[in-house]
């Protein structure tokens, strides 16, 4: 991977139905979604339904935007980050995806840092945010580590991804962990 330039300025905001076309940029990309448990979207209508039925009512789902230099394009999402509470009220699961055009610039790392700085105040009772990463997903593992997540274990035969049972590395960020940067 390239050495990163100075970290991008990333902001998080709620999604809007109007973001569907920007979202298609990563949601329809088999490469950007290769490690996701969900399949790449092929239909704009299906993605619109996903935004309406899952994203908008979700307790914590954010559009990742690059702070522009005043241009409108600065508000266009280049990725998404979500933190989903589980049946255990102290624990929530994080997912992040970035459009391929913006890989290698530290966008995911910056989005993760913003997330852990905000989410514990937003989600009542949550003290642990965990992320499951495919053992082969080196880029995501690096982003989590740079954002201050602790690697805890390899969970064997833990997730079905694209029809295959995979080992997953589990990372966590606890409410008392130090915020980096």
């Amino acid at each position: 991977m390239n050495q990163e330039q100075e970290a991008p300025t990333v902001t998080l905001r709620p999604f809007d139905l109007a973001d569907v076309d920007a979202m298609m940029a990563w949601a329809s990309d088999p490469v950007a979604t290769s490690f996701m448990t969900w399949d790449a979207y092929t239909s704009r209508d299906a993605l619109l339904a996903f935004i309406r039925d899952t994203v908008l009512p979700h307790p914590w789902f954010r559009a990742v935007c690059l702070a522009g230099d005043g241009e409108v394009s600065g508000e266009v999402p280049v990725g998404a980050v979500s933190v989903t509470p589980t049946d255990d009220r102290c624990r929530a699961e994080l997912g992040v995806v970035v459009a391929r055009a913006h890989w290698g610039k530290g966008v995911a790392t910056a989005a993760l840092k913003r997330t852990v700085a905000a989410v514990f105040a937003d989600l009542d009772g949550v003290e642990r945010v965990e992320a499951l990463v495919d053992v082969d997903n080196a880029a995501s593992r690096r982003a989590l580590e740079k954002a201050g997540f602790q690697r805890e274990a390899v969970l064997r035969s833990y997730c079905v991804v694209k029809g295959r049972l995979r080992d997953m590395v589990i990372y966590s960020f606890i409410s008392t962990d130090p915020l980096l940067d």
């Binding site: 448990t37 969900w38 255990d88 009220r89 102290c90 624990r91 003290e127 642990r128 965990e130 602790q150 805890e152 274990a153 390899v154 969970l155 064997r156 035969s157 833990y158 079905v160 049972l165 589990i170 966590s172 606890i174 409410s175």
Partner: protein, 205 residues
């Protein structure tokens, strides 16, 4: 997530019991409800569980009816020969319970994971009962559920005896998950263990 119970007995561990450990289904009987109370009413056993200790046998009776009997896989742990119905000397006695809960199916409807939890009456601690029960349960569910690929269990970081049970039963210690589960109102660090189907091929542990 099924949770473990077992702590250290106050004295050095006794020799493993030479008696047979078997598993059977619970019955909606007074005898099984009474036996249930031998661990379910013990605050020390309940220490590492979500549930509070029971105070009267009616709670055990209701728990067997509402939770145990409809459960996908819940067994009584019996020590001694016989069926554990409590009749006659030397007959099997119910000393604990063990349960295996399938994880919810993934979006594609696929089942592949389950979690195991167990509880043993304090008088039976330190004799290898839980270890043998866990081994027997693992054998049973991997045989009964061909879809099963991963059987997991968590033990509180402050429960080393339970961690040893899982290790001796052949589970692999994967790591400590911080503030993983809320027990008695507080998030607890838990050690995660697993047994995957490939651990169990001939020659495996």
């Amino acid at each position: 997530m099924e949770l473990q119970q077992q702590g250290d007995p106050p004295r050095a561990a006794a020799e493993p019991t030479g008696e047979v450990v078997t598993l059977r289904e619970f019955m909606a009987s007074d005898a099984d409800a009474e036996a249930f109370m031998s661990w379910a009413s013990d605050p020390l056993v309940a220490l590492f569980q979500r549930r509070d200790a029971f105070e009267h046998v009616g709670q055990a009776r209701r728990y067997i009816f509402d939770h145990v009997l409809p459960h996908p896989w819940y067994r009584a742990i019996c020590v001694g020969s016989g069926s554990g119905s409590g009749s006659g000397s030397g007959a099997a006695v119910v000393v604990g319970s063990i349960s295996v809960k399938p994880a919810p199916a993934e979006a594609d409807g696929r089942l592949f994971m389950a979690s195991v939890g167990y509880r043993v009456a304090r008088a039976q601690w330190g004799r290898g009962v839980a270890t043998r029960a866990v081994r027997a349960a693992a054998e049973d569910v991997f045989a009964a559920w061909p879809w099963l690929r991963r059987l997991e269990a968590v033990a509180d970081v402050e429960n080393p005896a339970s961690q040893r049970v899982l290790e001796k039963a052949g589970f692999v210690r994967e790591g400590v998950l911080r503030k993983y589960i809320v027990l008695k109102g507080r998030p607890r660090d838990m050690v995660m263990f697993s047994l995957v189907d490939t651990d169990r091929v001939a020659g495996g542990r």
